[in-house]
Structures are given as structure tokens and as C-alpha cells.
């Protein structure tokens, strides 16, 4: 039925990427450019007594040095981030000064010559201590250490009565660490003085160009329209290339303006790990009440999310967390509270999942514990409680025909059957009875995930399509391609809607000066919202083409069909005109505009802030994973042997790329489960490169088997929903649940490194 979508197509930027021609930020060079480097704090918390740049200034090749005194506008960006620390450094990654020099080596030398005198203070590195403190404050203009607007809650039913009805109540606490996105490309910004509008032009590895533009304008005291941001080819981001590149853009913009020269700043891996945002560390406190037969009657939870000293994500991520805290289950009585907390440590931001990896680890460990407590199969307890037609979610949203689809029970059944879940459970039990050195385990986890921004903001997106004389088509979106394959998906959607082939498309990198801000590229909404804008632009062009064709072919507009690069009468194939010929008529003979903008605006979601009740997300995606592991009892090493997973992500526009998103997410989830963690000591960071921050290599890749359940849901473009973030969140709980199955030991803190698997506790804390 479709020609260009629901079909695996090669990505449109494949050629330049396999030949080495694609230009990433670090590959950009401009004449007379200078190299910038930041002087970072030496302490997690200290008063800045003085900054002496005199020695550095004398160094041959140093062109400029800036400190907080040189900021033209405000020294505060969204989330309280200072461009450069003024009176106090509040964490180990704070910038204090920036050098611009003629070579990278000179910049490095100059950084060492800058002498900053500090007066050390005791840092607030413990989250709970910071949460409870009213006198020791990270920001002294506040009354506590709770991040602004980060307290989100959910109230449904009556928690007290609900818990009273329970036959069994479990109280559990789970912990997750700060982790890094670990994109292989470290951050880069190149800023050029704009000769035409007294402004600046910023290039680099930028996930969200519009927020960078807004913040840079503010600190530069420029109009927003004077700042132009274009992202280069981005070497992975996963939410991460945001705050750090905002800081880099601000610092280089000041230097570019002062020196009137291009400024290039490339972070080393160490700087990237120090300065970029992390996935928030969580403490999840749960209380669950259930009947003897496994029916959940109430869940009460209090979740603390560690923010660091500055934060512009907890206010959104905690809201998402609060919606999903009770998992994909029918729970009549809910009381949820999420709090973001300021600390003098590295800070939390966005990383694939945006609260889900932490929350799902908590809630899916919890239901597993409940299953064992009640001696019910982990699969059965999930089937019993999962959201089905007629049920209501924690938000009060109703599931069922004409409303939100609720396919999870089918997905659980499908994945369990496909993985022989129950058979293998029995088989591994037998195996474990016979073997002492190696134990095998199987674990399950499920999830529901709100598609798009939902209540975080209006899910708008824009796209512009322009057909040129030769019939080639330019597509630009306000959303960014970071490797996830969005430009290919968008082009497929445009090609399908217009009735032309994919080869015609060229995609331009987002440039804030030529397309309007439709919101950030986050929340797995590139296809969901961006695709809708593309459809609208394509439909507008199609209408214009049909109108001209109807005159040319002398028939009614309604009878015109565009398909396979031809425009023809639906019954009379004699009446046909080639796409190129029609374009020529439009442009050369009639002077018709063949550029159209599409704008998608679903409107705001309705929510009651006092209770969290309301339409949190327009629709949801689902998943279930079964993970099999082998534990070496002597060494504590956990090997993930196989992951079988099933997802409903709606229509896969490009199945090959959809699977790529899921595989990639699963492996990041495996890293989260087993190895990824920052070692911190009293606010200092002990982990700063890939020799001690371990990420999965190809050797860690388990057998992966993914099945897509394409459940009908009209919400997204051609029925597509969200996929980018979904892969990651099921892994950690299914691994720890499998670990329990294998060993009878419950680990409530990830990653399952050797210290935890051998001793059951972390040695480094």
C-alpha cells in the first residue's frame, strides 16, 4: 500500500559517513581561527578570592582571556548556569576563565598559567542531606535545596485506604547512579563573528540550536535574531549535547566578538565527562500494597533526583517520572512525589529516557519483589495488573477502543512465548540445582512510555519543503539529526505524501535563521511531531501541484493522482505528466511558489497540577523484555546472554532504522545495568575517560531478538509513534530480576559491578 514508508531504506547521509566526508564540528576550520580552552574549578565548592591572568596574558600566542567580568549581558543562562563562575564555584566542572590562543598547545599552556585563589568550603554532595538542609544552601537566594518547579506529584484515589486494603505491603528503596551519554564525539563549538548583522554564527555538535540561540543572545545582550545557530553533523547526543554546548557557545561567542576572529573549542573526553550533563542519580522509595492474589491496590512513592548545582531538566524529567512512577499497571490508589535536589556535584540533564531508566528500574524491581513475596510468577503478576481496556492510568486517562490502545498484555504474552520464558525459568532452576560455580537466571520487565512532550510543553514542530527547477526537493526541519535517522524518516514521509521517490530529497542542517523554532529535539518526538509538520508541508505542495495539473490535463483536481513521480488522471492514464515537467510549468510558466511550510500544533495537554490528573500524553508506547544471564559465582561476573524484547512503537516508518534505535538503546541499557558509573568522592570526580568509565564494547553484545507489534493508533504520522528512547529502560530491571532468579539475591542499586554482585554492596561508597 505504501511506496516509501514502512520499508527499510538506506539512510540518506550514509554516503558521506562511510567515506569520511561528513563534517563533524571538529572538522570545521575557518581562516584566522583561535583555539579556546576553559580553566575549570579546582574544588567542588569554594569562594573565588582572586583570578590572576597576568602570566598567561604574557604568553606568546595568547590573544584574549575572559572571566565573569567580561560578559556583556547577564551571567546566567536557563537553569542557573553561569557562563563563568563569579564569586563562588559550585561544582568541580565550573568554568572560571577562558583563553583564546593561536594554537591549541598555547591555549593549554596559558590555562596552566592562570592563577585562581580559592577559599575552600565544605561541599554539599549528599543528596538527602542537601534535601533536608535549610541553612546550608547551594543557592543562597533560595530557602531550600529543591530545584525550582521540580516537585511533581500524582494523586489518585486514597492512598491510606488503599494500603489498608492490602494483604501485603512491601517497602523498598532503589538507587541509580549518574551516568554519561558517552557519545563517541566529544563536544565542539566553532563561533564566527557574523559580518552582516553585528551578531554571531555558531556551529557545532548542538542538539537544540534554538535554546542555545536564546541563551547566547541573553548573555551577549544581542537580539535573538542576531544569533544564528547551525548544527554540524553530530556524533551522537542522546540528550547530552545541550548544557555543555550552551556554555561553550556562550564563552566562544564572547571571545569571537572581542577578537573579531572565529573561535574553535573542542572538548577533550575528560572535559566532556566533567562538564556535560549526566543522567540524574535517583533514590526511589516505594511502598506497594497488594492482595494475596497479586492484585496491586496502592503504590506510594517518594523519589529524589540529584541535580547538581545548576539544572534545567529536573523540572521536566521529574514530571515525566511522576506520570510513570507506578509503571504500566492499573493502580487505584496512588501517591507519588518527585523532588529535584541541588548539590555541589556533577549535574543531571537529559540522557535517553529522561527519568524512565531510573523509574522503570525502581518500579519493575518492585513488582518483581512483590511476585516473589506472593509466590506468583513474575510474568503472571504483570499480566494480572497491566493496563487493559477499560482501565485507567495513574493520570486518570482511560484505555480502550477509541481512546489509548492498551496492548501490553499481548506484548507480554508474545515476548514470553517467543523467549520460552516459563520453560526456561524451570530449566534454569534445574541447572542451578546442579551447578555451583555458574548460575543462570531469567528476568522480565515491562514499560509504558508517554509519546512526545505531553505536559512538558506544546509538541509543536515545523518543516519547510522546497521543490527546485530540476525536481529535487529540499527539506528542512527545526528538529536536528544526531544520528538517529530523522532526516531519512522525514524524507520518507514527505516522499510518501507527495507521491515521489526518496532520491529527490536533500536535507539541510537546522539553521535557526531560516526556520522557526518549533521546540527541542527531545522526547522521541522527531517522527511523532516533526513528521506531522512534514506531512502538512507536503500536502500543501501537493494541492498546488494538483491544481496546476488539473488545468494542464483538463480534468477535475479531485481526479488527479500523484504517484511514482507521475501526475495523472485516476482513470485515464493517457492524461499523464511527469513530475519534472509539471515543476517546470509551475515555476517557469506560472510563477507558482513551490516552497511550503508545515507547522504541527496539537495544543497544550490539560493537566491538574494539584493532583497530576489529566491528559498527560496523547498516546503511549509499550515494551516488554526478557533477559537471560549467567553469573559466575566465584568472580561475580554477570554475562547477559540474550535479550528478547517486544515493542509497540506504532508504524515503523523505516524498520531497519527503528531496530537500530532499539538495539542501540538496549546496549546502552546493558551498560547502565552492569558497568557504567561515575566514581565520586566528596564532590570530586574520579572517572573521566573510557579507561575507567566503561561502556559496552562489541564483545558485550548479547543475542538480541526484537519483535515489533504494530498496533493501530492513528495519533502519529501514518500511525508512527516514538522509538528513540524506548530501548534503554527495560534492561536494568530485567537484568537485576534475572540476577535474583539466578542467585536468590536482590540487588537494589545499579550497576551490578563485581563489588555488588560479590558482596551485595558497593565498596567505593
Amino acid at each position: 500500500m505504501y511506496n516509501e514508508i514502512k520499508k527499510s531504506q538506506n539512510r540518506l547521509d550514509g554516503y558521506e559517513k562511510v567515506t569520511g566526508q561528513a563534517k563533524f564540528g571538529a572538522d570545521l576550520n575557518f581562516g584566522h581561527q583561535l583555539y579556546a580552552k576553559t580553566v575549570y574549578s579546582e574544588y567542588p565548592r569554594a569562594e573565588i578570592v582572586s583570578i590572576d591572568i597576568s602570566e598567561a596574558e604574557k604568553l606568546e600566542g595568547v590573544v584574549d582571556i575572559i572571566t565573569y567580568e567580561d560578559i556583556p549581558g547577564e551571567n546566567e543562562m536557563f537553569g542557573r548556569f553561569p557562563v563563568l563562575a563569579a564569586k563562588e564555584v559550585k561544582y568541580i566542572g565550573d568554568g572560571v576563565a577562558v583563553v583564546a590562543a593561536k594554537s591549541k598547545e598555547t591555549a593549554e599552556k596559558a590555562v596552566d598559567l592562570i592563577n585562581v585563589e580559592y577559599k575552600e568550603k565544605q561541599p554539599l554532595f549528599n543528596m538527602k542531606k542537601a534535601y533536608n538542609s535549610k541553612d546550608d544552601l547551594v543557592h543562597t537566594d533560595k530557602e531550600d535545596n529543591i530545584i525550582e518547579h521540580s516537585h511533581h506529584l500524582m494523586r489518585k484515589g486514597n492512598i491510606k485506604e488503599g494500603l489498608q486494603k492490602a494483604d501485603v505491603i512491601l517497602e523498598r528503596t532503589y538507587y541509580t547512579p549518574f551516568v554519561d551519554q558517552a557519545y563517541i564525539e566529544p563536544e565542539v563549538i566553532v563561533t564566527i563573528p557574523d559580518p552582516y548583522r553585528e551578531g554571531i554564527e555558531i556551529h557545532g555538535s548542538i542538539q537544540n540550536p534554538y535554546s542555545i540561540r536564546e541563551n547566547v543572545a541573553k548573555i551577549m545582550d544581542l537580539k535573538i535574531s542576531q544569533v544564528k545557530v547551525i548544527h554540524s553533523t553530530i556524533g551522537g547526543s542522546f540528550g547530552g549535547k545541550d548544557e555543555s554546548v550552551m556554555l561553550m557557545a556562550a564563552r566562544t561567542a564572547i571571545l569571537a566578538k572581542r577578537t573579531d576572529r572565529p573561535i574553535k573549542m573542542v572538548l577533550t573526553r575528560e572535559e566532556s565527562m566533567l562538564e556535560s550533563c549526566k543522567r540524574h542519580a535517583y533514590e526511589l522509595n516505594y511502598k506497594i500494597g497488594a492482595k494475596q492474589d497479586g492484585t496491586i491496590v496502592a503504590i506510594e512513592d517518594e523519589v529524589y533526583t540529584q541535580g547538581g548545582p545548576y539544572n534545567n531538566k529536573a523540572m521536566f524529567a521529574n514530571w515525566r517520572g511522576s506520570v510513570h512512577a507506578t509503571g504500566p499497571y492499573r493502580v487505584e490508589n496512588v501517591k507519588t512525589d518527585y523532588y529535584g535536589v541541588y548539590t555541589n556535584t556533577i549535574y543531571g540533564g537529559a540522557y535517553r529516557g529522561f527519568s524512565a531508566p531510573q523509574t522503570v528500574f525502581g518500579s519493575e524491581s518492585l513488582i518483581d519483589e512483590l511476585a516473589y513475596e506472593l509466590d506468583i510468577s513474575p510474568k503472571e503478576i504483570r499480566l494480572k495488573n497491566c493496563l487493559k481496556e477499560g482501565d485507567t492510568f495513574a493520570t486518570g486517562q482511560k484505555f480502550g477502543p477509541g481512546e489509548i490502545p492498551a496492548p501490553l498484555a499481548d506484548i507480554i504474552e508474545g515476548v514470553c512465548e517467543h523467549s520460552d520464558y516459563e520453560e526456561k525459568r524451570a530449566e534454569y532452576k534445574e541447572f542451578n540445582n546442579k551447578h555451583n560455580e555458574k548460575k543462570k537466571g531469567i528476568g522480565i520487565s515491562c514499560t509504558i512510555r508517554g509519546a512526545g512532550l505531553g505536559g512538558e510543553g506544546i509538541d509543536t514542530a515545523g518543516a519547510t519543503l522546497t521543490i527546485d527547477q530540476d525536481g529535487s526537493i529540499n527539506l528542512i526541519s527545526d528538529l536536528t539529526e544526531m544520528g538517529q535517522g530523522m532526516r531519512t524518516a522525514h524524507s520518507q514521509i514527505a516522499a510518501e505524501t507527495l507521491g515521489v521517490s526518496l532520491e529527490r530529497f536533500t536535507f539541510i542542517n537546522t539553521d535557526t535563521s531560516i526556520i522557526m523554532d518549533g521546540g527541542p529535539t527531545v522526547a522521541s518526538r522527531g517522527t511523532l511531531a516533526g513528521g506531522q509538520a512534514v506531512i502538512e508541508a507536503a500536502r500543501k505542495l501537493k494541492e498546488r501541484l494538483k491544481k496546476v495539473a488539473s488545468k494542464k490535463l483538463d480534468c477535475k483536481k479531485e481526479d488527479i493522482v500523484i504517484g511514482n513521480d507521475l501526475i495523472y488522471h485516476k482513470q485515464n492514464k493517457e492524461k499523464t505528466i511527469a513530475f519534472e515537467d509539471l515543476i517546470e510549468v509551475c515555476l517557469n510558466d506560472l510563477g507558482i511558489s513551490l516552497s511550503a511550510q508545515g507547522w504541527y500544533n496539537p495544543g497544550p495537554e490539560e493537566l491538574d497540577e494539584e493532583t497530576g490528573q489529566g491528559k498527560a500524553y496523547p498516546t503511549y508506547v509499550y515494551g516488554c523484555a526478557v533477559t537471560e544471564i549467567t553469573v559466575d559465582i566465584k568472580t561475580g561476573k554477570v554475562n547477559v546472554d540474550k535479550i528478547t524484547a517486544g515493542y509497540d512503537i506504532g508504524t515503523p516508518i523505516n524498520p531497519q532504522q527503528v531496530k537500530g534505535q532499539l538495539y542501540g538503546g538496549l546496549l546502552q541499557g546493558l551498560g547502565y545495568s552492569l558497568m557504567e558509573e561515575f566514581e565520586q568522592k566528596e564532590g570530586y570526580l574520579k572517572t573521566d575517560n573510557f579507561d575507567d568509565y566503561l561502556i559496552p564494547s562489541i564483545k558485550d553484545m548479547p543475542d538480541i531478538d526484537i519483535k515489533l507489534f504494530d498496533i493501530e493508533d492513528d495519533f502519529g504520522p501514518y500511525g508512527a509513534k516514538s522509538v528513540g528512547e524506548l530501548g534503554i529502560e527495560l534492561v536494568a530491571p530485567s537484568v537485576t530480576n534475572a540476577f535474583y532468579d539466578a542467585t536468590g539475591r536482590r540487588i537494589r542499586e545499579i550497576p551490578l559491578n563485581l563489588e555488588r554482585t560479590l558482596l551485595g554492596k558497593s565498596l567505593s561508597k
Partner: protein, 157 residues
């Protein structure tokens, strides 16, 4: 430090350069010779983004000094495409969906090239051994392994 004269052959072309002996081969290739297909991900020999083939061996060019590379023959990803079009490995990487952000791709492709030179029909586990030194954060590796298998098949035919 005194600059030294070195001779390097990169992608069959020879270059005479004057560089500091402790300059990294990575910087020589990227900055002096503009082979920006060579990437830097970690600078400590862990990620494989800077992989090149030096005298037939896979090396992390961030760990090789210009002095050590003297008179050597280097292959970078820029060498693979010919008048006949993309190399089968490059084609296979595209066809199998083994490319996402593309930052690891040049290194992955070069490691694959050497692997297939030594073993034209590797098993999945041999592929894992061959690409162990190259991190990819995007793909989860599955489609990379598929691509290597596909490339091996295309190159055998």
C-alpha cells in the same frame, strides 16, 4: 622541541612533512594533511575512533607519535572509495544499517578491512574479536556485525 622531517605515505601518496616528533599521528593526519575522516574520541587509545591502518596493522593514531610513523604507509577511510564506487565494506555498512551518527564508522570500516583481509569468512565471534577495539555508542553493534558478514559475502563473490 626541534621539528623533524618525516616521510609518510598516506593513501598511496607520499608526503614530506616537518613536524615535532611528539606530535600525534592523529593530528598530523587531521590537521597537517586534512584527512578528517580520522576522528578523535578519547585520546587515550580506548575508543578506536582514530583507527588507521599503518604498515598493514590496525593502530590507534592517537597513540602513535609522528616520529614512530616515519616512513610508514598509512591507509585512512578516504582511501576506500574508487572510480568503481564505494568499497563493498562501505556499501555493506549502509545496506545493513550499521551507520547512525557515523562518528565511529571510519574506524569500524578500517578494522573491518583488516579483519577481512586476514579472514575472508569470519564467524560472528571472530568479528567481535576483530572489532573489539572500536566503540560504537549508537548502533548496539548488531547491525555492524551484519554489515561485516554482508561485506565478507560481497567480497568473496
Amino acid at each position: 622541541m626541534q621539528k623533524i622531517e618525516i616521510n609518510l605515505t598516506v593513501n598511496q601518496r607520499s608526503y614530506e612533512l616537518k613536524v615535532k616528533p611528539n606530535k600525534r599521528l592523529l593530528d598530523v593526519l587531521r590537521n597537517d594533511l586534512n584527512f578528517t575522516g580520522v576522528k578523535e574520541g578519547c585520546g587515550i587509545g580506548e575508543c578506536g575512533a582514530c583507527t588507521v591502518i599503518m604498515d598493514g596493522e590496525i593502530v590507534n593514531s592517537c597513540m602513535v607519535l609522528a616520529g614512530q610513523a616515519r616512513d610508514s604507509e598509512i591507509i585512512t577511510v578516504e582511501d576506500l572509495e574508487s572510480e568503481n564506487g564505494l568499497h563493498p565494506i562501505q556499501k555493506a555498512f549502509i545496506d545493513a544499517g550499521a551507520v547512525q551518527c557515523g562518528f565511529c564508522t571510519p574506524g569500524m570500516i578500517l578494522s573491518t578491512l583488516n579483519l577481512l583481509k586476514e579472514n575472508s569468512n569470519p564467524t560472528r565471534s571472530e568479528i567481535k574479536d576483530g572489532l573489539e577495539g572500536n566503540f560504537c555508542r549508537c548502533t548496539g553493534y548488531k547491525q555492524i556485525i551484519d554489515a561485516v558478514e554482508l561485506a565478507a559475502e560481497m567480497m568473496r563473490d
